[in-house]
Amino acid sequence: MENIKKKNFYIYLGLSLFIFLAIAPWILTHELSSFLLRSFNAYLAIVISFIAGSLWWRDNLKKDIHLEAIVISMLAFLGIMIFEFSQGIAIILQIVLINFLLRFELKVINEDENIMSYIETRKLATYIITILCVMQIAYLFNPYVN
C-alpha cells in the first residue's frame, strides 16, 4: 500500500511538470514558448517510454509484452523527431500513444485490489495529459500568439 502511495505521489509530481510546460507558453514570450513546447514533447516521449519500459519487469503481467513495449517506446521517440517537421502531428502521435499505453497497461496487468488507487491515478493523469496536449495543439494553431 505504501508503495502504491509513493507511486501515486510520483505520478502527481511528474504531472505538475507537464502542467507547467503546458501553461507556461501562454504566459511567456514566444521565443521561450517554442523551447517549452519542444520540452513538453520530449518529456512526454521520455515518460511514455519509461512507462512502457517499466512494464518489462512488472511481475503481475498476464503475458510477455517486451515487443509491444519496445515499439511504443520507439514511436514515442520518433515523436521527438517528427516534432521538428510537424509539431501538430508529433503531439497527436503522443496523444494516441499515451492513451494506447494506458489501455494496453490496463489490459496486461492483473487486476488486484491493492493497485486500484494506482489505476485511478494513472487514468486521471492520462486524461489530464491528453487535455494538456490539446492545449499545446491549440497554441500552435492560435492566430494571436505568433
Binding site: 501562454w26 504566459i27 487535455i131 492545449m135 491549440a138 494571436y144
Partner: protein, 452 residues
C-alpha cells in the same frame, strides 16, 4: 417530526450538488468581468481572501446546522436553536431561505429559459444575423419566453418530484461531469480561436492601482453570492450529507470548484470577445449578444454555440433545483403534502411569479414596481439585495454567537480543534461584519434613489 434518514449515496455527490448549486449564471457571466475590470489578478487574490473569510465559514455553518438536524432549513434552524437552548424563533432564517429560493427561481427560470432558447438560435446563427436584433426578437415575444420558462420550471419539478436520490443525485451525477467536459471544450475553443493571451491578461494580470474600497466590497459580494449562501440551499443539501464526510475539506472543495469553474468560464468567454473585437460586458448582454455575435462568425460556430448554451443551461438547472428543494423538503417532512405534489405546487407558484419577470422584457418594460425597478429587477432587489445577505448575516450571527460549540465540535471530524477555533473566530467576528458591509453597500444606491 422525524429526522430525515436520506443521505447522498455517492462519495462525491454532496460536492457536486453544492458546486452545482453555486455555479450558476451569476458567476459565469459576473465573476470574470468583475475580475477583469477590478484589477485582474489583484481582484482574484482579494476574492480568494473573501471566500476564506466570508464564504467558507458561512458555508460550514450551514452544513453543520443542516447535517445536525437532517431536516429542511426551517426545521434545521429550529432544531439548532432548541439544542443550543435559545429561542426556536431562529427558524425565521429558514423561512427567509425558503422564500428567497422560490422568488429567485421565478426570475432565474426566465433567464435560464432564454439560455435553452439560445441553443437552437445559436445552431442556426450566421454572419448576416444581428445578435442585438436576435436578442430583441427572442425577448419581445411574451409567448416565446413563457414557453421556455415553462419548459425550465417543468424540468425542475420533474427532478425534484423524483426525490433526493432518484431525482437530484442521479441528475447531478450526470450533469456535473458533462458541465466540466463542456467547459473544457469551450476553454480549448478559446485557446484555438480566441485572443487567449489578452483574455489571460484581462483576468489575471494584477493591477493594484485599480484596487479601491469598492473593489473589496465587490469581491466580498461575489464571494458571498457565488456560493449560494443565505437561502437554505447549502443547509438543505448538507442535511443529506453522510456523517463520515469531513465538513471543512468538503466546503474547501466546493469553494475551489466554484472558483475554478468561474475562472474557466472567463477563459472560455473573454479571449473570444477580444478576438472578435466585441465589448467586454457582464450579465445577459455578454452571453446573449456578444457571444452569439462571435459564434455567428466563428468556424464551427453553429456547433460551438449550442455547446456553450447547453453549458449555461446545465449550470442554471443545477442551481435552480437547489432553489426549489428546501421548500419541497419542508412540505414533505411536515407531511403537508407528498413530495411530487409539493414540487408541482411550489413550482407553479414560481412559474406564476415568473410571468411578471418575463413581461419585464416586453409588455411591462416601462412599468416600475419597487425602488424604480421593473418586475424582474424588483424580484432581484428583494432577494439578492435584501433576503440573501440578511439570511447569510443571521446564519453567521446564529452560528457564531448562539449555536452550541458542542454541536459544532461533534459535527466537525475528530482532530479538528484548530479548524474549530479558526472557524469560530471568523464566524463570530469577521463574517457577519463583512456580510453586513455588503448588505449596506447594496442598499446605499436604493436609499440615494429614494431620497432623490
Amino acid at each position: 417530526m422525524n429526522k430525515n434518514t436520506i443521505t447522498w449515496i455517492g462519495k462525491w455527490t454532496f460536492i457536486l450538488a453544492a458546486a452545482g448549486s453555486a455555479v450558476g449564471l451569476g458567476n459565469i457571466w459576473g465573476f470574470p468581468y468583475k475580475a477583469g475590470t477590478n484589477g485582474g489578478g489583484a481582484f482574484v487574490l482579494i476574492y480568494l481572501g473573501c471566500i476564506l473569510m466570508i464564504g467558507l465559514p458561512i458555508m460550514m455553518a450551514e452544513i453543520i446546522i443542516g447535517r445536525r438536524a437532517r431536516k429542511s432549513p426551517v426545521n434545521a434552524m429550529k432544531n439548532g436553536a432548541i439544542e443550543s437552548g435559545v429561542s426556536p424563533k431562529w427558524q425565521i432564517v429558514g423561512w427567509g431561505g425558503l422564500l428567497s429560493g422560490i422568488l429567485i427561481l421565478s426570475f432565474y427560470s426566465v433567464l435560464a429559459g432564454i439560455c435553452l432558447n439560445y441553443i437552437g438560435i445559436s445552431a442556426g446563427a450566421n454572419s448576416a444575423m444581428s445578435s442585438v436584433e436576435e436578442f430583441s426578437r427572442a425577448t419581445a415575444s411574451a409567448t416565446n419566453l413563457l414557453f421556455w420558462h415553462t419548459v425550465f420550471i417543468s424540468l425542475n419539478i420533474l427532478i425534484i418530484a423524483y426525490g433526493v436520490i432518484s431525482g437530484i443525485e442521479r441528475v447531478i451525477n450526470f450533469m456535473m461531469p458533462i458541465l466540466f467536459i463542456l467547459i473544457i471544450i469551450m476553454v480549448l475553443n478559446a485557446m484555438i480561436n480566441g485572443d487567449f493571451m489578452r483574455g489571460l491578461s484581462f483576468m489575471f494580470a494584477p493591477d493594484f492601482s485599480q484596487v479601491t474600497p469598492a473593489t473589496f466590497l465587490s469581491a466580498m459580494g461575489q464571494a458571498f453570492f457565488s456560493l449560494s449562501l443565505g437561502m437554505g440551499s447549502i443547509m438543505c443539501y448538507g442535511s443529506y450529507m453522510p456523517d463520515d464526510e469531513n465538513i471543512f475539506k468538503t466546503s474547501m472543495t466546493v469553494a475551489g470548484l466554484d472558483t475554478l469553474i468561474a475562472v474557466m468560464a472567463g477563459l472560455a468567454i473573454f479571449p473570444i470577445i477580444f478576438a472578435y473585437g466585441l465589448d467586454a460586458a457582464s450579465g445577459p448582454n455578454l452571453v446573449f449578444v456578444s457571444m452569439l455575435s462571435a459564434f455567428s462568425d466563428m468556424p464551427f460556430g453553429n456547433l460551438l454555440g449550442p455547446i456553450f448554451f447547453i453549458l449555461l443551461s446545465i449550470a442554471a438547472l443545477s442551481s435552480s433545483i437547489s432553489l426549489l428543494e428546501p421548500s419541497v423538503a419542508y412540505f414533505d417532512e411536515e407531511k403537508i403534502v407528498s413530495r411530487p405534489v409539493a414540487a408541482i405546487s411550489l413550482g407553479l407558484i414560481a412559474w406564476f411569479l415568473g410571468i411578471g419577470s418575463l413581461l419585464s422584457f416586453n409588455l411591462w418594460s416601462e412599468k416600475t414596481f419597487i425602488a424604480g425597478f421593473d418586475f424582474l429587477g424588483s424580484m432581484d432587489f428583494i432577494t439578492n439585495q435584501l433576503l440573501m445577505p440578511l439570511g447569510g448575516m443571521l446564519v453567521a450571527i446564529f452560528a457564531g454567537w448562539f449555536l452550541s460549540s458542542k454541536i459544532v465540535v461533534e459535527e466537525l471530524s475528530t482532530g479538528q480543534e484548530k479548524v474549530f477555533n479558526i472557524w469560530k473566530f471568523f464566524i463570530k467576528f469577521i463574517s457577519p461584519v463583512l456580510v453586513a458591509a455588503v448588505f449596506i453597500n447594496q442598499l446605499i444606491p436604493f436609499f440615494q434613489n429614494l431620497l432623490s
